[in-house]
């Protein structure tokens, strides 16, 4: 007991927390954006060192077991830190332009930067904590911070979106608390009351002794709770509004990271439940919700006029696909699911970066009024085009790799699901590509951007996705395999 918290963890969680505090004060200064980047970069550094350590000497529990890092969450930690950093990079010019347009005040900038860091902190806490209760608390905190971010513009639409986001996720999360309590209730039998009872590692150790009925009910509550945040149909209604109305960097981190984090929480709970129940109860639920999300989201796509809204729905679709993969389970499917998580967050955030600049240039998010990007800002246009092609699962981009594994496994194990997937993917392709193509190609009258757009993030992400589609380093693969084994 009483082991001092390790340096990596300290930096990892400390840096965003400190950043939040500092930027709460100086968030409106000219150098605030640079500060923001710096803090995120430092977090990334800590995450990297943590990764190195985990890869070197296996899972690690920290600060008398309050923190637990294994290969499953360490890669999410790394991903989160990375995307957070690139997004910070992107938000530098983006928010500057927003400010020039007078859409954000000084107070707004302060709020933005502060909340951005705190949001990062909350997500990292969800990922690293070993305690299901703390996980819940952190998830709620993440909700609050993002609610503030979504409402940043204080416009009619943004307020409405934020309100819905708050109420729906708040209620959802409340169900998750109910689930947590039930888990605790079940755990008491096995572990006895006490602070250690909700520690995931302990639960994992005794999961086969947990009471199945309680666990199944608990899982239902947890699924409703965290599923709301993942954006599973029919709990998804907050998602498109929140994505479309917040500042674009926020949309990027929302669909790039927050959904992943929520799904991570869900997966942790699934592991316990599967251990306790003999029948594949959790898996069936996950597959069902996953398929429903894929199908419904695909149908929504063709209806969209607002570009960010459309990509929000595409996020729902991909989350559904990942959930379906985890539901199928098995080494291949889980591997594919994790891979798809990574690819999706990289690609989708890259797309949002491009979309952000595109809509800034056109001065609107309405797709019919964005035309001929490739003529004025070729780089933005290409970013959007390639990103779209990638997210639609076109090789050689990495998204295809995971979709390949998921689909082929699906037809082998659950043939009944494949027609739905085939149709949904086809419709999704038709809808998204049919809308993006005229935006990128063709002629336009728009002007260039006042500030040079932030392209490093976009093309870094796309390059990563491309490389991972063609070649995956050995240790990365092992890492995924280990994580997949944990999920089972």
């Amino acid at each position: 007991m009483g082991a001092p918290v390790s340096l990596e963890m300290l930096c990892l969680l400390g840096s965003p927390l400190l950043g939040g505090a500092v930027l709460a004060l100086f968030g409106h200064r000219r150098y605030a954006a640079e500060l923001n980047v710096a803090f995120s970069a430092f977090t990334l550094l800590a995450a990297a060192s943590l990764v190195v350590r985990i890869v070197a000497d296996g899972p690690l529990t920290d600060w008398n077991e309050q923190f637990f890092v294994d290969s499953l969450n360490v890669f999410l930690v790394a991903l989160t830190a990375f995307v957070a950093t690139t997004t910070a990079l992107f938000s530098r010019p983006y928010m500057r332009i927003e400010r020039d347009h007078g859409r954000v005040t000084d107070a707004g900038m302060r709020l933005y930067h502060c909340m951005y860091q705190l949001f990062t902190f909350a997500m990292l806490l969800v990922l690293t904590t070993n305690n299901l209760g703390v996980m819940w608390v952190a998830m709620e905190a993440a909700t609050f911070t993002t609610v503030m971010l979504v409402a940043l513009y204080r416009t009619h639409a943004s307020l409405e979106a934020a309100w819905k986001y708050f109420i729906l996720c708040g209620v959802g999360i409340a169900q998750a608390l109910m689930g947590t309590i039930l888990v605790y209730f079940a755990a008491e039998k096995a572990l006895g009351a006490g602070a250690g009872t909700l520690l995931w590692t302990h639960l994992d150790a005794v999961k086969d002794q947990l009471e199945p009925t309680v666990l199944s009910i608990a899982f239902v509550f947890l699924l409703i709770g965290y599923g709301t945040k993942v954006g599973l149909v029919p709990l998804h209604n907050w998602l498109p509004d929140a994505h479309a109305e917040g500042p674009t960097p926020v949309s990027a981190v929302l669909s790039g990271l927050l959904l992943n984090v929520a799904l991570y929480a869900l997966v942790r709970c699934k592991v316990i439940t599967d251990g306790a129940l003999e029948r594949p109860f959790a898996s069936a639920l996950l597959m069902g919700f996953g398929l429903a999300s894929v199908a419904v989201a695909a149908l929504f796509l063709s209806r969209q006029r607002d570009i960010k809204r459309m990509f929000a729905y595409s996020s729902i679709e991909h989350m559904g696909l990942i959930t379906f993969a985890f539901g199928m389970g098995g080494p291949v499917a889980s591997f594919a699911g994790l891979l798809h998580m990574t690819m999706h967050s990289l690609t989708k955030s890259a797309i949002f970066f491009a979309v952000g600049h595109a809509s800034q240039k056109a001065g609107t998010q309405v797709m019919d009024e964005i035309r001929g990007l490739i003529r004025v800002n070729p780089t933005v246009g290409w970013g959007l085009m390639l990103g779209t092609v990638a997210i639609l699962g076109m090789p050689p981009f990495g998204v295809f790799a995971s979709e390949f594994l998921i689909l082929t496994t699906a037809i082998a194990q659950h043939p009944w699901a494949t027609p739905i997937l085939l149709l949904s993917l086809g419709i999704a392709f038709a809808s998204i590509f049919g809308k993006v193509q005229p935006m990128v190609f063709g002629e336009t009258t728009a002007r260039r951007l006042p500030h040079p757009p932030a392209l490093i993030p976009v093309f870094t992400h796309l390059a990563l996705v491309l490389v991972l589609g063609l070649y995956m380093p050995r240790y990365l693969a092992d890492w995924y395999r280990m994580a997949a084994k944990l999920i089972g």
Partner: protein
């Protein structure tokens, strides 16, 4: 390393070289000279090397290679066997000619920067080469979709025009859906083993239903790529939209990659064949062939006409493929080999003459900036090189002896004539009908090509500006002549080609027919008494006869001749507009096959001072199949929007209901 010792590595090297050329292209994107004077010639040389390597590899042992790329559990497997080698030969030989032509062609601005076009073009070539050698599902799919993507960017390279964007969209959409079907087909083939290498699929002993599922998925997927009716709608849009060398590459080679994939899956990966698969493919193929050629007959845009004729040829190829399956299903190996030979031979021929003709249209477009047949004519005087090369292509595609087109159609018909041997009553009835359709299609092809050639190159120029038309440049001529020569040679020495095909058929159909060919001179598929054909002899005797006639005429009579106004039954001032237009020429076919078309006519009013008559022929399938599907989906999406009506209480109700349902579901 000695040349051709390691053909697979050579192929890989060539593919990489193409990729490198593409990358070099964007090094100087704006400079047309850089890409056309340096990169395209290099690409052409690479093509020649590829052809040579493949030629050597056809008779070699299968080779395989594993690259350290791809998925962690599934590195890229490559394999080069006779089938791959044959299609690589096709690719290399055709690409060489097209690249040569491209050297001269791409000088003009195609909308996108020359460097970018160069990138797409060479990535396209490389990906096609990789498709041929891929030996696991993942590598295949990656190469396959890269091919689709690069060709999409080529099609939309001139993306300022809305209809070109529409064409590209339609193309990529259908290609992608097809790709998903192929992917699922592989999923079915691996039979739950979780191992996606082709070797594993060969080993996996599928249950009957799974085999059928795989075959149908493959037929759908590869059919979508090949332009099989009813999945053909993208083809007449996309091929004309692309720059002509690209159209040539797509029509000539890319469609064949689909055939390759289909052969690979059905005859190689699936362990068994059911005879009724063959019937399905045969029926689809014949339908496609007739549909395609009938629509080709009424086109008034020369590239669309060629595109539709590609659909026809694909139909014939599928018919041959279906016949192969049929024979294979009844385990009549020799006949299966015959049908397969015809199929593959036709693939090769179509690749050559269709690219030749597309390149000719490209030359015409550069010279006249006109695509519509109604504004061309008389170009044989202004651009003799193009005209005579086009004549070769025309004869070949019309399937007239002694051209290569005739040789393959001859084999195909021979294969049909053997079907009465099938141990199945109804199938025997199929023979006459099927053979009749093939014959009708071939005859119609003649009609269409006379229309094409006559309207474009013969007669009087229909526009004044055609007088300024210039002949193709040196590079372009080289490309054209290369392809034309290939057509002639293949036509004259079919026995040699069959010799090339022998290893392929031995692998796929379990037997070959080359051994039965009566020497190099004669083409005798099963036994000489039954049927034999010697184009060389025909050509030689024909040439001698023509020469004799000419000599005798010259010997006995004077050679006087003079120029005058055309006679035209003595009608005064007949002018160029009085010639048959393309529409006029197609009118009889339109009348005979009226039910095929969805015709809209704009007839002038009786007292019209400037009467205009327009008639459009559209595809029933587009209105009868695609639009309804689109509308259905639209309606469905409208239904779904009920989920998102904005009222927060309702949203809460959703999650509440879900919660309750699940809780009951737990109990």
């Amino acid at each position: 390393m000695t040349p051709f010792a390691e053909p697979l590595q050579d192929v890989l090297a060539i593919a990489c070289a193409w990729l490198a050329l593409g990358v070099l292209g964007i090094a100087r994107p704006a400079s047309a000279a850089w890409s056309t004077r340096v990169l395209y010639p290099a690409g052409a040389i690479a093509g020649l090397l590829l052809a040579a390597t493949a030629l050597a590899a056809i008779f070699g042992q299968p080779q395989s290679l594993v690259l350290p790329l791809g998925l962690p559990d599934l590195p890229f497997h490559l394999r080069l066997d006779a089938l791959s080698a044959f299609f690589l030969l096709l690719l290399g030989a055709t690409a060489a000619g097209i690249s040569l032509f491209g050297c001269g062609y791409f000088r003009h601005d195609q909308g996108s920067a020359p460097g970018l076009v160069c990138l797409y073009y060479h990535v396209f070539l490389a990906s096609m080469a990789l498709v041929m050698v891929a030996d696991d599902a993942y590598a295949f799919m990656v190469a396959w979709e890269t091919m689709a993507l690069s060709s999409y960017f080529l099609v939309t390279s001139n993306h300022a025009h809305a209809e070109i964007r529409r064409a590209g969209y339609l193309y990529l959409l259908i290609a992608h859906i097809g790709a998903i079907a192929i992917l699922l087909c592989f999923g079915a083939l691996q039979g739950g083993s979780g191992n996606y290498t082709f070797d594993a699929m060969r080993e996996a002993h599928l249950a009957g239903p799974w085999g059928t599922v795989a075959f149908l998925l493959a037929l759908a997927g590869f059919g979508a790529k090949a332009g099989l009716v009813p999945m053909h709608v993208w083809l007449p849009e996309a091929h004309p939209a692309a720059p002509s060398p690209v159209s040539a590459l797509m029509s000539g080679v890319m469609l064949k990659t689909a055939i390759y994939g289909l052969l690979r899956v059905t005859l190689d990966l699936i362990g068994f064949q059911l005879w009724w698969w063959g019937v399905v493919a045969l029926a689809l193929g014949l339908g496609t062939a007739l549909y395609g050629i009938v629509f080709a007959a009424v086109q008034s845009d020369m590239k669309r006409l060629l595109a539709w004729s590609s659909i026809e040829n694909i139909g014939l190829i599928f018919a041959g493929f279906g016949l192969t399956l049929l024979f294979r299903g009844f385990d009549m190996r020799a006949l299966a080999a015959l049908a397969l030979t015809a199929t593959l031979f036709h693939c090769l021929n179509h690749a050559l003459y269709k690219s030749l003709l597309f390149l000719c249209t490209g030359a015409v477009m550069h010279a006249t900036s006109e695509r519509s047949l109604g504004r061309l004519g008389g170009l044989i005087h202004r651009m003799p090189w193009v005209a005579w090369c086009a004549l070769v292509g025309t004869i070949a595609i019309a399937g007239l002896p002694p051209s290569n087109g005739f040789a393959s159609e001859w084999l195909l018909l021979q294969a049909f004539l053997f079907t009465p041997g099938l141990p199945q009553g109804y199938l025997n009835m199929l023979v006459p009908v099927a053979a009749a359709v093939v014959a009708l299609t071939a005859a119609l092809a003649g009609y269409v090509m006379v229309k094409f050639y006559g309207v474009v190159f013969l007669g009087q120029p229909r526009e004044a500006k055609l007088a300024e038309a210039h002949d193709a440049g040196l590079w372009e001529r080289t490309g054209l002549v290369w392809l034309a020569a290939a057509c002639v040679l293949l036509g004259l020495a079919p026995a040699t080609v069959i010799g090339l095909l022998d290893p392929v058929t031995r692998v796929l159909a379990g037997d070959g027919i080359a051994s039965l060919a009566k020497g190099w001179l004669f083409l005798a598929p099963i036994q000489p008494a039954r049927a034999s054909y010697s184009p060389l002899l025909v050509f030689a005797v024909g040439a001698v006869l023509v020469a004799l006639v000419w000599l005798m005429v010259r010997a006995f009579y004077h050679g006087r001749w003079r120029r005058a106004l055309p006679w035209a039954c003595g009608f005064p001032q007949t002018n160029a507009r009085m010639q048959d237009t393309a529409e006029g020429f197609g009118q009889p076919v339109r009348q005979v096959f009226e039910p095929f078309f969805r015709i809209r006519t704009e007839a002038p009013a009786p007292g019209d001072a400037h009467p205009r008559y327009r008639e459009t022929h559209e595809d029933h399938l587009w209105y009868g199949l695609y639009l309804p599907v689109a509308r259905g989906v639209g309606w469905f999406t409208g239904l779904v929007t009920v989920l998102q009506r904005g009222r927060i209480s309702v949203y809460l109700l959703y999650s509440f209901a879900t919660l309750l349902v699940l809780l009951l579901f737990v109990r």
